[in-house]
């Protein structure tokens, strides 16, 4: 039998990656873990607190409310953006100048920095000078995102839909483009209705990219901070205080490092958990042949 050569020096080759990952992820995360199990009264003095912060946060209604708002936000934007994105993709020109034109126009919102998107909508929705706010006001509709919870929610949801539907549409479009013509021709021969073409050809062929779109949009919206912060600042009251806005308030506003660290670890675990569940379900569906 041939002897396997052993050369432990090869481990040095992975060293650069280890160092990189250590500095970019492991060490910062461990710092947070460190904060989450200690208490401090300033002066850089820390005391062991064990799981106290975690217990406190779990019994704190504030975090549960933020989580609830967060889930509602992610749920609503997914429920709008995914079907809307598919609808847009289905109706886009498949080739030629107008196809490229649509692609460029639709990519534009994706290229605008979050901050700027927030500012655009903040001004757009203002009742005194904003085009949208002023128009609605003139039409006699009670719209004021700084005072009215419903208005604030509608504003941040419409803003997110405006910002990100393109992403779903572009992914769905890519999925649609990869369907060979023969499928559509066969469907015509088989006399399939438009709905059946969508249900049995387009949707199954788009499934892969749609799952990526859902996962991306879920994770992104679950971590959203900048845009709602710029528009509503979490208000009115706490109406639009989503998880990350709440977290920043706690960590940097109140400087409650311990609870905030515990909070962010749980936040991280929730995202990890949901993504994992999502991924597992996906892979299983795929195996079973949907």
């Amino acid at each position: 039998m041939q002897q396997k050569t052993t050369n432990q020096k090869a481990w040095f080759l992975v060293l650069p990656v280890l160092i990189l990952v250590a500095f970019s992820a492991v060490i910062p995360l461990m710092t947070v873990v460190n904060y989450s199990v200690q208490d401090t009264f300033g002066n850089n003095q820390f005391f062991w607190a064990g799981l106290e912060w975690f217990e406190e946060m779990l019994s704190d209604e504030r975090m549960w409310n933020a989580l609830q708002r967060q889930l509602m936000f992610s749920g609503i934007i997914l429920a709008i953006e995914i079907p809307l994105g598919i609808f847009v993709a289905l109706n886009m020109p498949k080739s030629g100048f107008w196809s490229s034109f649509c692609l460029v126009v639709m990519s534009l919102p994706l290229l605008i920095p979050w901050n700027v998107v927030g500012t655009i909508w903040q001004i757009f929705g203002r009742v005194d000078i904003g085009l949208l706010g002023h128009t609605l006001e003139a039409l006699g509709i009670n719209y004021n995102y700084t005072q009215n919870t419903v208005s604030a929610w509608i504003t941040i949801i419409v803003m997110d839909v405006w910002h990100w539907t393109s992403l779903v549409a572009l992914l769905a479009f890519a999925g649609l483009k990869s369907i060979p013509d023969a499928y559509y021709q066969a469907a015509r021969i088989d006399q399939a209705s438009r709905w059946k073409v969508f249900r049995f050809i387009e949707l199954p062929k788009m499934m892969g990219v749609l799952m990526i779109a859902i996962l991306l949009r879920f994770m992104d919206s679950f971590m959203i901070y900048t845009e709602p912060f710029v528009v509503t600042g979490g208000g009115p009251g706490n109406a639009t205080t989503l998880l990350s806005i709440d977290l920043v308030k706690m960590a940097l506003g109140q400087f409650d490092l311990g609870p905030a660290a515990a909070f962010s670890l749980m936040y991280f675990l929730v995202i990890l958990l949901i993504s994992w569940v999502f991924y597992t379900v996906m892979v299983n569906l795929d195996k079973k042949g949907l």
């Binding site: 023969a182 066969a186 015509r188 021969i189 088989d190 006399q191 049995f200």
Partner: protein, 361 residues
């Protein structure tokens, strides 16, 4: 079932075709007889699929009309034409079971479930997939998927025509035979008009009653396999059908005699004076090696194909192929070839010229 008439039909993929070269399918008049099996044979890109898609209504022709039993359907959508078509690459509805795939065309036409179930069983038996009916189509291999496509094409009994666009390309050789036999049987049993596109001459010749040979967007000959073999109307048909193809040799033709580089070749009948590029064509099967008479050749290679030998030779610097029997002697002193005069065809500018008199039967 219907008779399909093509009337002045032509198609170009360009918006404003200027010259004939812009047409993917050049002007064509033809009647596809009801209940016959046709093969559309030609190299890739010669317009076969274009013609097929025009018949099924997936493509609107740039000019001309298409009639089913005398009724103009040129602008009728595919659904109205009631055509079944099977494509080169398998098209199955991944998320459905095999059974639902087969039932799909029937259900879309609102047939009742009892009838659908019966037809699905019949077709499943025909394509040998009875035990897979409940499986999802997604996980199946390419040839199983193509069998489903074929099955979906055959599931409707009342179609006007069945069109096949190189359907057996992805199927392995053993299965090819079986499916082709099934298709022939189907044609025999139900008498559908069938049009089968292929670039494989064996497939075409074994499947069809009539073979339509296409070359560069033009139908160059329509005929029985025998006619294509004995009397190719165009040098392309000569090349394309037969293995190896017909020998085409530049010649001068005067009356009953052809001259290849000055050497005489007897013809079986008389020809009027010809202009342009004149050639004679003779199939390797009708060329004999000889010691003393005929054109001088230099033998370069002999291939033994089992039942016969293929002799590759050179005649006045031109390649010439000879097929001789397994037991026919090939000797070093056989440096000439003779042609069977009755089987020599004369071509002017690639098209066959009919003799003026005395054509051999």
């Amino acid at each position: 079932m219907a008779r399909i008439t093509l009337d002045n039909l032509a198609h170009s993929y360009m918006a404003n075709p200027a010259s004939e070269a812009d047409f993917a399918l050049k002007e064509l008049n033809y009647d596809w007889e009801d209940g016959e099996a046709y093969a559309l044979l030609g190299a890739s890109g010669c317009g076969k699929s274009t013609l097929l898609n025009i018949i099924s209504g997936l493509l609107m022709p740039s000019q001309g009309r298409i009639l089913f039993d005398g009724k103009d359907v040129t602008h009728a959508p595919t659904a109205e034409r009631n055509i079944a078509q099977v494509f080169q690459f398998p098209v199955v509805y991944d998320t459905m079971t095999v059974q639902d795939n087969l039932a799909f065309p029937l259900r879309n036409r609102g047939r009742d479930e009892a009838y659908v179930a019966e037809r699905v069983q019949e077709i499943a038996r025909m394509i040998g997939m009875e035990d897979m009916l409940r499986k999802k189509a997604r996980g199946l291999g390419a040839d199983a998927k193509q069998k489903i496509s074929l099955g979906r094409g055959m599931v409707r009994k009342d179609v006007n025509a069945l069109l096949f666009d190189e359907p057996l390309t992805v199927i392995d050789p053993h299965m090819k035979w079986e499916l082709r036999t099934q298709l022939k049987k189907l044609h025999h049993d139900f008498g559908h008009t069938m049009i089968y596109v292929t670039h494989d001459q064996t497939e075409a010749l074994t499947f069809a009653d009539k073979v339509v040979v296409m070359y560069d967007g033009r139908v160059v000959q329509i005929g029985t396999p025998e006619e294509l073999f004995e009397r190719p109307e165009h040098t392309f048909v000569g090349y394309f059908i037969g293995s190896p193809g017909m020998n085409v040799i530049p010649a001068k033709v005067e009356g009953r005699m052809a001259y290849v580089n000055g050497a005489e070749v007897a013809l079986s009948s008389r020809y009027a004076p010809l202009s342009g590029k004149v050639e004679i064509g003779v199939r390797p099967e009708f060329v004999r090696l000889s010691e003393s008479e005929g054109l001088p050749v230099k033998i370069r290679r002999i291939e033994d194909a089992g039942r016969h030998k293929i002799i590759r030779a050179e005649c006045f610097g031109q390649d010439i192929n000879i097929i001789s029997g397994e037991d026919d002697p090939v000797r070093a002193d056989m440096t000439r070839v003779t042609f069977d005069a009755a089987k020599v065809n004369v071509y002017a500018n690639d098209w066959r010229v009919a003799p003026t008199e005395g054509e051999a039967a």
